[in-house]
């Protein structure tokens, strides 16, 4: 069965080529060009995942996700933003987005994110309440990364990370104590072909730290190596 993606963006040119690419990957795509139509469509068709633009006429993405979340608590939602400060609004305020992608984006990245979220979702819905396969677990003291489900836990508590944040965390913890440069981290999170500002990594790391600190105020395992990058230290 084809998985269905709801794509809501007012830019028709973007939706045309993106839906073409997604269909080539075997998804079925329903396109809506404003928030209102998107809300009605998603409510009617129950897609497997929704990709929403933030700035749209009639109803913007933030209003849309607030309305959607009332009935669709588990629907994976990816935001498309073009403003850096919107990320905080979407993710920081816990509007309920699972991930976000900044415009302009590479399709490969979008497809990867969609697939990851769908996989995470299917594990969650599959009733597989125990941890995934032991082979797929990366354990670093209190930190556990579940490779299959892209789930991260600290002392057993779930840390809700976006896909990008998860990938960064995974790269940092591969070799604890080893420094990862910003460029290495960009390659891990965005792939080799994409241009991303170095400072994007800084804001990602900031968010990751905050998410861990919300759970454990003593969390200080991610160290900034000035002028180089970041490293992860196992707790003593």
């Amino acid at each position: 069965m084809n998985q269905t993606i709801a794509l809501v963006d007012d830019d028709k040119n973007i939706t045309t080529s993106v839906s073409m690419a997604l269909e080539a990957e075997g998804f079925s795509v329903i396109v809506y060009h404003d928030g209102e139509a998107g809300f009605r469509g998603i409510s009617d068709h129950n897609p497997d995942i929704a990709v929403l633009d933030v700035k749209m006429p009639r109803m913007d993405g933030i209003e849309l996700i607030q309305k959607l979340r009332q009935d669709h608590k588990t629907l994976p939602i990816i935001f498309l933003t073009s403003k850096d400060d919107e990320i905080d609004e979407v993710i920081g305020l816990r509007m309920g987005a699972d991930d976000y992608i900044t415009k302009p984006f590479s399709q490969r990245l979008l497809i990867e994110r969609i697939k990851t979220l769908l996989r995470r979702q299917s594990f969650a819905e599959g009733g597989d309440s125990t941890s995934g396969d032991e082979d797929s677990l990366i354990k670093r003291g209190p930190l556990t990364l579940d490779e299959d489900r892209h789930v991260c836990t600290w002392n057993g508590t779930n840390v809700v990370l976006t896909v990008t944040e998860y990938l960064l965390m995974k790269s940092l913890t591969e070799k604890p104590g080893h420094v990862r440069s910003r460029e290495q981290l960009i390659d891990v999170a965005y792939g080799q072909s994409t241009y991303v500002d170095d400072r994007m990594i800084d804001s990602h790391i900031k968010r990751i730290r905050k998410k861990f600190k919300d759970i454990d105020p003593n969390f200080n395992q991610i160290e900034t190596i000035y002028g180089v990058g970041y490293k992860y230290e196992n707790p003593a």
Partner: protein, 540 residues
Amino acid sequence: MESDTNTKTLLRKVVGGVSEFSGSPRLSFKRYHAGKKRKKYHPARLITLITGVNLVPVLLLVFALIFLGEYRGSLIRTELELTKTQSDLISTILSENSIEEVQAFLPENHNIRIALFGKNGDLISSDIKYERLGTPEEEAGLMGRTLGHVLSAFFDLFQIEYNLPSFPPIDENNLSSLPGLENALNGRGSLSVWSMNRSQLLFSSATPIRDGRNTKGAVFLVKPATEIDATFNELRNDIFRTFFIIIFISMGVSMFLVQALATPLRRLANAAESIRYGSTSLSEIPDMSNRGDEIGELSIALRSLVQALWERMDNIERFAADVSHELKNPITSMQSALETLANVKKAKDRKKLLTILAQDVRRLDKLVTDISQATKLDVALSREKMRPMNLQKLLENIKDGYLARLDNLGLNQNIILENNCNSECSVTVNKDRLTQVFTNLIDNALSFSPSKGIVTIKLNERPTAYEIAISDQGIGIPPGKESKIFERFYSERPEDENFGGHSGLGLSICQQIIHAHTGIIKAENNSNIGASFTVILPKS
């Protein structure tokens, strides 16, 4: 592969650098100035000025002191005349009477000292005592004496130098050496002014006593100018007292003025200076509005200036963010289309993607053009002159222009001009900009009009303004968005429209132009069908 990584690093550096600069204008503004040294303040000029001006009356007093010397000179001349008259009188009396007789008339307790000499210069009588010629120093307390010394030292600066010879010392037993005596005995009288003890004046006269043609003796008269000195000193002390009082008052006034004017001005200047370096918030600027004077006004003006500056900077910042946001959509679309193009095989899809790419290029071009126009609009509006013109004619011309072009544009709509205005319809406007507004509104109306729809332009007269309404028969404005559609980059386009022909800046530009004409622009839905855009322009 390696060159790939290099290019990427380079790109990151270049774009990183650019985004760092344009990302936050406020930040870069600060950074730009951070390297420059703050200008050093000059010493307080206003304070110097205030004090200086207040010292002018004091300087006038100093002039008075100089003229005081002149006054003293004239006193001395008068006294000399008097001395001459006195000695002449004495000698006349003596010439007619015997010396002994005259002696009885001589005043006893007078400060005139007289010596009488016989024909051969032999002393007949004298009450000249050398040590009594100088007036004794006044008894004064320590303060008085010190003050007195300071005083005379000070006044010596302004005194006219007389260069008077010192009165020669007198041997009281041999008075024949008195100055001028010999000449007087030989029949030539003389009159002299001397100085005594540096600070006192002494008048002397030697006058022959005549007996017909012969000289039968001489009278020598000497008198210290105690009255002159007394008068002079009194005057001098008066001036000096006034001098001190005036200095005291003038310093007080200066300090008051400095406190009232220079200090608040300095505070405002410091605040203004700190604005330049971009670190000032409104609360840091002193609020002196309750002073109710010019400085109060200045502080109000400065505060509103800062507020306007911040608003403007916020606007620029928002505009920059909006622009980058708007530019990212076509770029995203192009990237996506290009990536998809590499993967699709069907000729139909490829053609579709190529059309998208072409549209995106047009879209970007249109956006960049409109953005640059919108940024220049402020400057253009302030530079270009407004002239009175006939509104009826302008609208007529615009309508005719459209009617001639409608066919070429492939449109089958119609445009009607309803002119309900009987008077001159004169408005003072920038013709090109106003034409731009109407063209924009008519373009909009046409694009929302259904096939064979009618766009109506209505011109109405109001007591103080003219009202131009442009209505279409389209889908209307989504309820609640009537003012939002004037926001930058807000876009609400008909479904089937040629995509990308509009930047979302058109109405925002219209609004900016109409506001610059102190007019009003508003949008509303018609009661039956379509939307109306109304422009209200004040009569000229």
